[in-house]
């Protein structure tokens, strides 16, 4: 009987480069425990999105291996994609459809049956305050409402691990509060959160475990309070600037 991994993500000696470019990652190791609220931070071009793409199987590592809940990540292993959810930074749904129609479609692609989709759609639209607009086309929604639809689609199948790429960018305070509260609730119920953002104050509230990366290298990784104590910094933002510098970053 296979042992149950205590890790949500286990990256061992991973190397990756984009064709024609220098190594993005070289011999990278990173472990994220199951049930963690993990924050991945770094300046533009540091490799956050690439690392998430590698963890979700959108990209394939050149060397080493990446395991998600003990199973190898890769494009050939589509069935394991049921284990995680992904909330990209872009609005990743069909604007011509309503929230309910989007959830029906993405739910089906997550492998859910009709009845489960119906139940989950009702729950999510109620929790995220979209019940009244469930049958209206999303393209007429405000940015905040679209963010909530984006999140609802990412969690329709109750994933064990949830990747969030700047899930609150461009939203008002109320929507940010609602989204963060919902994510905390999900985490309480056992979902591992893997989160990236430039909103460091929000990140401090949400994340207990953080990693700072720059130029494809992990500069610091650990419990947020311990890291602040170790580097004698009062906030994540100060720690961020100390480790990554104050120069502009041009991400071309």
């Amino acid at each position: 009987m296979a042992s149950i991994s205590p890790l949500a993500i286990d990256i061992q000696h991973m190397g990756f480069h984009y064709p024609g470019n220098r190594d993005m990652f070289s011999d990278l190791n990173l472990q994220i425990t199951k049930g963690a609220r993990f924050g991945l931070f770094g300046p533009n071009g540091a490799g956050k999105t690439t690392l998430i793409s590698l963890m979700t199987g959108l990209l394939s590592a050149d060397q080493g291996n990446i395991k998600l809940l003990g199973r190898e990540v890769g494009r050939q292993n589509k069935s394991m994609n049921r284990l995680f959810g992904f909330v990209p930074q872009d609005f990743s749904f069909y604007q011509e459809l309503s929230p309910a129609e989007n959830l029906e479609f993405f739910g089906a692609w997550c492998g859910l049956d009709k009845q489960t989709i119906k139940t989950r759609t009702g729950e999510l639209l109620r929790i995220l305050g979209l019940e009244e607009v469930r049958d209206r086309q999303v393209q007429k929604f405000s940015g905040g409402m679209k963010r909530r639809v984006n999140l609802a689609i990412g969690v329709i199948h109750n994933p064990s691990v949830l990747f969030l790429d700047e899930p609150t960018v461009g939203v008002d305070v109320q929507t940010r509060h609602a989204i963060i509260s919902y994510l905390m609730e999900l985490n309480k119920n056992g979902t591992t959160l893997i989160y990236t953002s430039h909103q460091l104050i929000e990140a401090e509230r949400l994340c207990e475990d953080v990693a700072l990366i720059d130029n494809g290298k992990i500069m610091a990784h650990g419990d947020l309070d311990s890291l602040l104590a170790e580097y004698k910094e009062e906030s994540l933002e100060h720690l961020f600037l100390r480790l990554t510098g104050k120069d502009y970053r041009n991400d071309v």
């Binding site: 959108l58 589509k78 990743s92 459809l97 692609w109």
Partner: protein
């Protein structure tokens, strides 16, 4: 199966909410078929009913010139008007503009004298060759040419028809003169009019019968030719909508999310094929219905559907499938909307040209006729013509369906290879 049905529902919903896209897919082809058929029908009527307006300036003062005008009139192709005192080419062109004539014919001065001299010469040679003593044979010069001015909008095929008509009129006039000279030389009296008419007036009728299969006769007309041809064109133009849909999906954020889900993108492609195959079949049904019920209200001949409905369904589905496969192939290799729309639209026009939709492939030169076989639209058109014009059935279109399906399968294979190369599946 639930994944596929949910995806088809999603694609159908998106399609139905794109009002402009629907207009492009249904209303524009109907307008196209209506306009092209009307124009071709007008051309047909111009020749067969309205007659082609022609101005004749007769600079000849003799009998042959008059006879030529009478003969041209009798051809039935022209509506003849005579004008006087035209001295220059520009004056003839101006007269054509004033009279709105497509053609102007100038009969040269001394036409009768030259025709008579040529006839006597030929009659003399003929009598000599018969061993009879005719008049002294004088070598006659050539008759001066007729000058024909034409409006540049006249198509070459029409001009060739006109030239053929004028040549037959000239031949008749010259033959009459020769016959008269011959008769006079032998009998020393005029050729009796009755005999002349019997000898020269061709009473042999020409019956035109369209070659059809199984004895079904529908007189070919602009509707029977144009509706199937432009229906194919409209179906292949689905590249604009389907290509755009696939490219939009590829470049949108939703595609990145789809790639992280436990479902192959092949389900998405299959759904699009099913959805847009339905669209192409519906397009054909709408255009055929317009041809049957609406065309008569525009003074056009109604479309006659083939008697073999099963064959019609098979050809329509095969055409639709090929059109959808072509659109998918274009979309997979296009990075932007502009690429898929630009390449898609232009390539469809090229494929329709070499496929015989614009110029019949039998009228093409040898090399182009071989190239036509590479266009899927050629096989679609041949199959439809076999049904709509020749009254054929399923067994008659199999030879067209097989290459069409082969091309479709090749397009599907290229699409899948393209997706694999781009790591999309």
């Amino acid at each position: 199966m639930f994944k596929l049905s949910a995806t088809i529902r999603k694609d159908m919903r998106i399609l139905l909410r794109d009002k402009v896209g629907i207009a492009l897919m249904f209303i524009m082809p109907v307008i196209l078929v209506l306009v092209v058929t009307s124009i071709q029908s007008s051309t047909f009527q111009l020749i067969n009913k309205n007659k082609l307006p022609v101005l004749i300036y007769n600079r000849d003062t003799g009998q042959a010139g008059r006879q030529l005008i009478t003969t041209i009139n009798k051809i039935g192709l022209f509506k003849v008007s005579e004008i006087k005192n035209v001295q220059t080419e520009q004056a003839m062109v101006d007269a054509m503009h004033r009279h709105d004539a497509m053609l102007g014919v100038v009969i040269p001065a001394n036409f009768s004298v030259k025709v008579s001299a040529k006839s006597k010469s030929i009659a003399g040679k003929a009598l000599t060759s018969f061993g009879l003593q005719g008049d002294t044979v004088k070598q006659a010069g050539d008759v001066d040419p007729l000058t024909v001015y034409y409006n540049p909008v006249l198509q070459e095929s029409l001009r060739l028809s006109v030239e053929g008509g004028l040549r037959s009129a000239l031949q008749l006039v010259e033959s009459r003169e020769t016959l008269r000279s011959l008769y006079f030389s032998i009998n020393e009296r005029q050729l009796p009019e009755k005999l002349e008419n019997e000898m020269l007036n061709n009473k042999t009728a020409i019956n035109e019968i369209a070659v059809s299969k199984e004895g079904i006769h529908h007189t070919p007309n602009a509707t029977q030719h144009n509706v199937p041809a432009w229906t194919i064109f409209a179906m292949f133009f689905v590249v604009m909508s389907l290509g755009g849909s696939v490219v939009r999906e590829k470049t949108s954020g939703s595609f990145m999310r789809l790639k992280t889900l436990p479902t192959s993108f092949m389900v998405g492609l299959l759904s699009k094929q099913v959805t847009y195959l339905c669209v192409t079949i519906l397009q054909a049904a709408v255009i055929f219905s317009i041809g049957i019920w609406l065309f008569p209200f525009f003074g056009l001949a109604a479309l006659n559907l083939p008697s073999d409905f099963a064959a019609l369904a098979v050809v329509t589905i095969a055409t639709g499938w090929c059109a959808v496969s072509y659109a998918m192939c274009v979309a997979v290799f296009s990075k932007t909307h502009e690429q898929s729309n630009g390449f898609g639209a232009i390539s469809i026009v090229i494929l329709s040209s070499i496929g015989g939709l614009m110029v019949p492939s039998f009228a093409m030169q040898g090399f182009l006729r071989s190239v036509a076989n590479l266009s899927p639209m050629h096989w679609c058109l041949q199959a439809y013509y076999s049904l709509f014009l020749e009254g054929g059935g399923l067994k008659d279109v199999i030879n067209n369906i097989i290459p069409l399906v082969i091309i479709t399968l090749l397009l599907q294979a290229v699409t899948i290879l393209g997706l694999k190369a781009k790591k999309l599946i």
